[in-house]
Amino acid sequence: MAKIFSKNESPLVPMPSEAYIPQRDLNKTPVLECRRLGINFGGLVAVDDFNLIIGRTEIAGLIGPNGAGKTTVFNLLTKVYQPTKGTILLNGQDTHDMNTVQVCKAGIARTFQNIRLFNNLSVEDNVKLGMHNSIQYGMVRGIFRLPSYWRQEKSAHERAMELLSIFNMEDMANTKAGSLPYGAQRRLEIVRALATNPCLLLLDEPAAGMNPSETAELMENIVKIRDTFQIAILLIEHDMNLVMNICEGICVLNFGRIIAKGSPEDIQANPAVIEAYLGKKKEA
């Protein structure tokens, strides 16, 4: 029953990169388009021939076994690594010459698989750091505490509280980020990313380490975030329940290559995916 095919050979699904943009986003410039993206680390081809289009308000999933290259894709999109091949178009604009900071300003925000918060700073300061580029006053105004300092700090505070309220975290505002429980740290990372005012939010295993009820709540909140902010979300996740329930398009990566793309139903039925996850099926 299980088919055997070599890794380089395209399996069952043909891959038009734009195949699963939701209907409502079809006539708008996609928020993200990757063309033949690839990177090598020395001899290791971590990602190769990666094509993906994400619609303006799509929730897309990136799945695959450990070591498939999912996090590396995020690092390419945010220019932590410079791609060795291919192009990334963000809102139709080539990000070739941009660095991490510029990509952030252009609208990509992310969270990290191994949480990276500013541990010694308060939760509120972490969120305010997300707003760094939308707060305008400079160093001198800050030191002299001119009126613009007070005005902007006040509105930053209000905005931070508003964002924290998405996850009901307002009462933790003054806690040190490093001393938050694990789940709350993951949520804070999402809030901080949202604070940068992105058009594309990348979530790297947002439900990792969460219990089922936390995960269920997170699922609702991801959808809520998309609906309120009208942004696109690309998420890496191993929790299939979450992925299948909220993602509109899913892209499956194995050994750095896309092995399948499609709607949740397609993916669940795709033998290549099943094989990648479960290994070759043994004959009983």
């Binding site: 945010t78 932590v80 660095n99 991490t100 900071v101 952030c104 300003k105 925000a109 992310r110 990290f112 990276r116 918060l117 500013f118 541990n119 010694n120 700073l121 300061d125 305010k128 750091l129 997300g130 760094h132 580029n133 707060i135 006053y137 400079g138 160093m139 105004r141 800050g142 030191i143 002299f144 505490r145 300092y149 902007q152 700090e153 009462d171 003054n174 806690t175 901080r192 990313a193 604070a195 940068t196």
Partner: protein
């Protein structure tokens, strides 16, 4: 509960201001009534200078999270440039406090420029390069100033390296005389000026820390990759903190130098850079009050224990190692934490008894 936590940062700030102001007031009163020992009264200005050095280095090490091993180099730049300015302005600026203020500003500006020049190549790199380069910088600046000749006459400033080739007109004056440094300095530094300088530095640091730029600086310390991912430019904010820190050290250098009649480059050597680092580590990274207390205590101690001064560096080394072990050892940390909790408990019980309040659970 929440209200308490909100004020924690601000509280530390005001405790620090209060402590410095109170210490100044007490010392000033004792000093003017003649109740201070001559030893201590002669130490007041150097203490101020070292306190400024400690808090400024704490900005680089504790708040920015970069190691600098050449902080005395910036002090040296400030000392020489500030004193030169003071001497050059001797006639044109009558008021000594104003001349002192100008000297401190000149020292700070030059140190800031030097800090900026060092920062351009080094702060782009990640890793411990700053430590290595500042270490070298401290030594280089020392040998520059031991070989520098600067003179002034009516044609303006003249300078040369290695040999005195300033060719001053009659009536001109050689200010920096190579290995002899600067001699015959009018001692215009005052304790009040030292206090004002400390307060200015504290205000700058605390206000910076609680502003957008300061948050960005601390974000770089906590997690550079995350900081970049939210759009914080690494080089810009590292530079901002490093240059501010260098400028303060320059100001401290000018204050320090104008307290003595001679300035020589050997006063600002590697030992002093390490000494300032010891103040910072002992006082706690990022803890300004700690730095102030450590700097003051460790400046007085060797003078008070003159006969043991030979072992000074040995003791510092041991203390430094112990403190590092202590801060990294969870058991010792826990022991301290338990002590503190116990103390807190005692105080709370007492205050509860006094006010008849219900104990917080």
């Amino acid at each position: 509960m929440t209200v308490k936590r909100i004020s924690k940062n601000t509280r530390t700030t005001f405790i620090t201001y209060g402590f410095v102001a109170a210490a100044f007031a007490v010392l000033q009163v004792l000093n003017s009534s003649g109740d201070l020992s001559p030893l201590l009264s002669g130490m007041l200005i150097p203490i101020c200078a070292w306190v400024v050095m400690a808090i400024s280095l704490n900005l680089t090490v504790g708040i920015l999270g970069e190691l600098s091993l050449g902080h005395a180099g910036f002090m040296s730049v400030g000392a020489f440039m500030g004193t030169t300015a003071a001497i050059a302005l001797q006639r044109s600026v009558e008021s000594a406090p104003l001349r002192l203020a100008i000297a401190i500003v000149v020292g700070a500006v030059f140190a800031a420029i030097v800090g900026f020049l060092i920062g351009i190549p080094v702060l782009r790199l990640n890793g411990d390069y700053l430590a290595i380069v500042t270490l070298a910088f401290g030594e280089i600046i020392k040998s520059i100033f031991t070989n520098l000749y600067v003179g002034i006459d009516e044609r303006g400033f003249h300078m040369s390296l290695l040999k005195d080739r300033t060719d001053l007109l009659p009536g001109g004056k050689l200010i920096i005389a190579g290995p002899m440094g600067i001699g015959g300095v009018e001692r215009i530094s005052t304790f009040i000026a030292g206090f004002v300088l400390i307060m200015i530095c504290l205000i700058v640091i605390f206000n910076l820390v609680n502003s957008r730029a300061g948050r960005a600086i601390m974000a770089l310390r906590d997690n550079r990759i995350a900081a970049e991912s939210v759009g914080i430019s690494v080089t810009k904010y590292k530079m901002m903190a490093f240059v501010t820190s260098a400028a303060m050290a320059g100001g401290a250098g000018a204050l320090f130098a104008l307290n003595y009649s001679t300035v020589v480059a050997n006063k600002f050597d590697f030992n002093n850079s390490i000494l300032v680092l010891v103040f910072v580590v002992l006082g706690g990274l990022g803890n300004m009050l700690g730095s102030i207390i450590a700097a003051a205590a460790l400046t007085i101690l060797p003078e008070a224990l003159r006969q043991f001064a030979d072992y000074r560096m040995l003791v510092y080394a041991i203390v430094l190692i112990l403190v590092m072990l202590g801060t990294n050892n969870p058991q010792i940390k826990n022991a301290f934490a338990t002590c503190f909790d116990w103390l807190k408990g005692v105080f709370r019980k007492q205050s509860a008894k006094v006010s008849g309040e219900r104990k917080e659970v």
